[in-house]
Amino acid sequence: MKIPTLSFCITCMNRFYQIEKTLKQNLDDNRMFKHLIEFILVDFSFDDELECWIKSTFRNYLKCGYLKYFRTNELKQWHASIAKNTSHFHASNDILVNLDCDNYTGRNGGKFIIQQFLKHKNDIVLHQFGGDPADGSFGRISVKRRFFELIGGYDESFEPMGYQDGDLIERLQQIGLQYVLKSNEPYNQAIRNTKTESILHVGSSRNWNEMDQINRQTSKKNIQNGILRANCSTPGIRINRSYTMNKTATNHE
């Protein structure tokens, strides 16, 4: 039996007030299994607050690779699919878990996810959605990296927000993965946001519902036409400044 490793993929744009609450808790809650788990954090913020806090607070976690921090200023306005693809494609473990920056994993939540994959023989898309669309957990999707890469990740042709998670789940099911819903309360807690809060920094004149509707239609059309792979070119942003060790920043492309 090979135990799969896991990457929590986090994105953050100007929400220091939220990640300040969740990140330390999540790192501490999963420390027992850190030989199997990494946290990928991609910072799209316009100021240096998060970067300074990460470097001063999590030096040891950065050093051992339990936390990997990346920063880029290439994303000028929030686009959920591009942001999530960026964090997912920086991950190096077997299972990729999208963890919004306002989400809590729960105590040993990473172990819980690995157990679900072992129990279901790996070919699943795990959805840790609490059931209330406003509870902030809808985007908690876990999938094996090879399947995520196979379908090209989140669809970047979408409007900046809305239905990118539902579309990902649909396409993963279309390639044969079993949908597993786990609504266990301890593992899907999140800080609640209003729809207005969630579309801050989105450069669109449309509201959330309009974007959601357009994306649903695009998704439906693509799937009906058998287009299951998104993004012709390389998805996500690959130009970053990374801080994975206790070294100074390095630019790489």
């Binding site: 039996m1 135990i3 027992m32 299994f33 030989h35 199997l36 040993n108 172990k111 690995i114 157990q115 072992l118 129990k119």
Partner: protein
């Protein structure tokens, strides 16, 4: 001694990395036995980290207790109950006996009530071990009485058929319980006498059965030169806490008729460990559990 400690440490590390991801939860085949090893090792090595992992396993074990588990000490409810009772008695965990163990009591009673009478007799050795650990004389008495009546009938019908090695060891423990607690008299005494003759006279007596006999009935000690296999050592360490919790650990390990595994054997076990089979019944953890008990039973060894 450094080699033994090194083996224990490496085994503990393998367990904390992998035990949460195996399926079996039982005392001998799964997480319950592993948790017991980790708690005991944490206390022995004075490293709390191992008991934190054991706590995590305990949460998983408690969540998995259901009527879907079998009625045996290896992988099922009675074994988990014995494990919890052992951990609580040795102050590794704090559980509310009224809640957890009484839930297990009810589950066992319910499962027994659903079984046909013929199957019950094969289940009884497992549940007797549980009730005896729970010190519930009434439940122990009712099951032992049925079981021994049946065993005596088999033995009377064909005394030349030696009992299977594994059954024999279990029967010896139950005999001890019967005689100590004066649960039944005639059948137990007759069986005691017959087994004594068999063990004394036959050349191919299993070494483990003989060792257990000498521990349980020192007044009728049988002297024979015999050696233990690795499997015997592992089995000995299981039996220590499945049956008769009142017998001091020291008596199990004081006069073992073989030497402990050598360095190359231990290295080979570590090298060949199957990460799906991590319970006490398998070589890796079984050997570690034996060594831990062996070292601890006589302080001069550590």
């Amino acid at each position: 001694m450094n080699e033994l400690n090194d083996y224990l440490r490496k085994t503990a590390l393998i367990l904390i990395r992998n035990a949460s991801f195996i399926e079996p939860v039982g005392l001998i085949d799964g997480k319950t036995g592993i948790a017991i090893f980790l708690y005991t090792y944490a206390r022995y090595a004075n490293k709390q980290i191992y008991s934190e992992y054991a706590d995590e396993l305990m949460d998983e074990i408690l969540q998995s207790i259901s009527s879907g588990l079998p009625l045996n000490t290896n992988s099922g409810i009675p074994g988990i109950g014995i494990g919890l009772d052992y951990l609580a008695r040795n102050q590794f965990i704090e559980i509310d006996p009224k809640e957890t163990l009484q839930d297990i009591d009810s589950l066992i009673r319910k499962q027994e009530a659903c079984l046909p009478k013929a199957s019950l007799e094969s289940i009884y050795p497992n549940s007797i071990a549980y009730w005896n650990n729970r010190r519930n004389q009434e439940e122990t008495r009712s099951r032992t009485s049925v079981l021994f009546s049946r065993l005596t009938t088999i033995y009377r019908a064909n005394p030349s058929v030696p009992l299977a090695k594994e059954s024999l060891v279990h029967i010896l423990f139950m005999l001890k319980t019967c005689l100590d607690q004066q649960i039944i008299s005639d059948n137990a005494l007759l069986l005691h006498k017959n087994i004594f003759s068999t063990l004394r006279l036959h050349d191919n007596t299993p070494a483990l059965a003989l060792h257990i006999w000498n521990i349980l009935f020192p007044e009728k000690k049988i002297e024979k030169n015999d050696t233990f296999s690795l499997n015997d050592l592992i089995a000995l360490a299981h039996l220590q806490f499945i049956y008769n919790p009142d017998i001091p650990a020291r008596s199990y390990y004081e006069h073992i008729p073989s030497s402990i595994p050598e360095r190359n054997v231990l290295l080979n076990i570590l090298h060949c460990a199957n990460l799906q089979n991590l319970g006490l019944k398998y070589n890796l953890t079984g050997t570690a559990w034996f060594l831990l008990n062996y070292i601890q039973s006589i302080p001069s060894r550590s």
